[in-house]
């Protein structure tokens, strides 16, 4: 405990010694002493508990029942989970597709967000603002990704079909978003196009907030070029923002589905772009099998936690 004690605790004279108390007494004592912290935290935390934590716990509980909004739910234990992995072929397809989506869009969007933010960091502020706008605009502008549907439209009025027909590369227009071999790669491209989002801005803000004297000290200590500076100075000091970006990349890439539905419809042709999120929307939103949908959400939750643990492990190696 004493190792964690901050200067604040050393400054304030403690009325009683830590050694005189058991753990419970000490906790109560510390809670009383830091009551301001709880008061400051309360407005946010009450809303967070009510609209995030309670619903999440209710969903976790429902994943063990057959709740369907109409009948009184029965307790099923792990039946929903066995059904998912044993009886539901489409779920297995969804898991495979999600893994492919996530394995590509997650790391690529994460690394791209950071690299672009880092590259533009040394530009003059005005040019940096302009470049930031160009890269961030696809994410900022709401449903602008629907332009891809216009460009890749199924008839010969679509720009891509028109061009390919004109160049005699195809004979008949291709229905890009309803073709099992094109829909997935196209959705990945669109996802990457919109992927420079919050974490991109967060990286830019983080890089701007970095302490310049660190770089100068690094240069004195023998950092030779920008890549060494990146590895030994920038990345370790950016770690909090990198953790933030990692969560963003994980939730974005594993929870991917909205763009696919908007562009390719639901269900996508032959389930070629069917993700876990689609499967979940299908059971939770359309069929009202809430218990089953909750089980899907829980599986997705566990996958994301695993991915996040992995990324945290990788990030702990930074600068070594």
């Amino acid at each position: 405990m004493s190792a964690k004690a901050t200067a604040a605790e050393q400054v304030v004279k403690r009325p009683v010694n830590r050694r005189d108390m058991n753990k419970f007494q000490w906790t109560i004592h510390e809670m009383k002493r830091n009551w301001v912290a709880y008061v400051m935290l309360a407005p946010y935390y009450l809303i967070f508990l009510t609209f995030t934590i309670i619903p999440v716990f209710v969903s976790l509980f429902m994943s063990f029942t057959d709740f369907n909004m109409l009948e009184t739910p029965n307790f099923l234990l792990f039946q929903n989970y066995t059904r998912l992995f044993v009886d539901d072929d489409i779920f297995i397809i969804a898991v495979q597709n999600t893994m492919i989506f996530a394995a590509i869009t997650g790391p690529v969007s994460y690394i791209m967000s950071f690299l672009v933010a880092w590259f533009i960091n040394e530009l003059s502020p005005k040019i940096r603002a302009l470049v930031t706008l160009v890269f961030y605009a696809p994410n900022l502008a709401g449903s602008v990704y629907l332009i891809w549907q216009v460009a890749f439209s199924a008839d010969s009025y679509g720009y891509v079909n028109g061009l390919l027909l004109y160049l005699d590369m195809i004979d008949t227009p291709v229905d890009w978003f309803h073709n099992a071999s094109y829909v997935m790669p196209l959705c990945i491209v669109v996802a990457l196009w919109t992927s420079l989002g919050t974490s991109f801005l967060a990286f830019i803000a983080g890089l701007q907030g970095m302490d310049r004297s660190l770089f100068e000290a690094g240069a004195v200590d023998g950092v030779k070029n920008r890549w060494q500076e990146l590895w030994y100075i920038t990345l370790p000091s950016m770690k909090p923002m990198l953790l933030f970006g990692a969560i963003q990349a994980i939730t974005g890439s594993f929870g991917f589905g909205g763009i696919v539905t908007a562009l390719a419809g639901f269900p996508s042709v032959d389930y070629a772009a069917h993700t876990i999120t689609h499967h979940l929307d299908d059971y939770g939103g359309a069929r009202f099998e809430i218990g089953y949908a909750s089980a899907i959400a829980t599986v997705l939750f566990i996958i994301m936690i695993g991915a996040n643990g992995l990324v945290n492990k990788l990030l702990s190696k930074l600068g070594q």
Partner: protein, 293 residues
């Protein structure tokens, strides 16, 4: 102060080695990527300026031959035929976006300061819960959320959209991480020694230091709320949002493809303006205060 800032940067570029090859490579990468990012945006804008016969021309052209504002006029004409006055939808969206964003900023910043800089029992798991909850699917949690909303009597009111935005986990996580990396404990400590109260330290020391993160949160939260078009919690016509109303207009098929192209541009203008204003704020902060030490 400005002078110091400049001097420091100049020294910084002198000290650090930046190879010409690296600069060129980075510029090349940024240009290629920038073109990939920008072309679809440009196409969106050009589409909105095309008259109907050019929208449905064969072979389709990327550029526009005779640009027109007719699509925008059509869109505004269609807006006037809506069931409730169109200004009402815009008003709803503005109320939701502005109150939601500022509440989100205020509560997240305060909570982030506490979770990042104060020490008290329960802090660790309180933060852990927030990070974990980010990874749980919102659709499934939405069902329990709806029950809670109806119990509170908030269904079909602004509250159903605004209050959950105030408790946004993403905003809090962003602010907390930025406080961790950019607010130095030493400065807060000396303020405490001077006898300043925590709320005051937060307001006059920590908050100005995290201005870039605040602006990022504003842009992000505004973007999400501005594009809010769901009718799950709000079903009265006079409480529905701009995005929803636009969606209804452009659902009219081929004849409205011009108005649809215009609507995408109209929808994206406001978030882009908010972003540009916030960027100019960041530039100003950097220029006036120099860098922190």
């Amino acid at each position: 102060m400005a002078k110091i800032g400049k001097l420091r940067t100049r020294k910084h570029t002198v000290v650090l080695n930046r190879s010409k090859g690296g600069d060129a490579g980075i510029a090349f990468f940024l240009i290629i990527m920038g073109v990939f990012m920008f072309l679809p945006m440009l196409y969106t804008i050009l589409q909105s300026l095309k008259p109907l016969d050019e929208l449905w021309a064969y072979p389709p052209k990327f550029y526009v031959v005779s640009p027109t504002l007719k699509n925008f006029k059509d869109l505004f004409r269609l807006m006037n035929t809506s069931w409730v006055p169109f200004s009402r939808y815009i008003f709803n969206t503005v109320v939701i976006s502005v109150t939601g964003t500022f509440g989100n900023l205020a509560l997240s910043a305060l909570a982030a300061y506490v979770l990042s800089k104060l020490h008290f029992p329960g802090k660790k798991w309180m933060f852990k819960l927030i990070v974990l909850s980010l990874m749980f699917n919102a659709v499934v949690a939405g069902i329990a959320n709806f029950i809670i909303m109806s119990a509170l009597g908030w269904v079909d009111t602004y509250f159903a959209v605004i209050i959950p935005a105030w408790g946004s986990t993403l905003g809090l996580y962003l602010m907390k991480q930025y406080m961790d990396s950019s607010v130095s404990d030493a400065v807060l400590e000396s303020a405490r020694l001077d006898g300043a109260k925590e709320v005051r330290i937060f307001w006059s020391i920590a908050l100005p230091m995290v201005k870039p993160a605040c602006l990022t949160l504003i842009v992000e939260s505004f973007k999400n709320l501005w594009n809010y078009g769901s009718t799950i919690y709000i079903y009265s016509e006079e409480l529905k949002t701009f995005n929803y109303a636009i969606g209804q207009i452009i659902a009219g098929g081929v004849v409205r493809s011009g108005a649809a192209a215009a609507s995408t541009v109209v929808m994206m203008i406001v978030p882009i303006v908010v972003f540009v204003v916030s960027q100019s704020q960041i530039i100003e902060t950097m220029a006036s205060s120099g860098m922190k030490d």
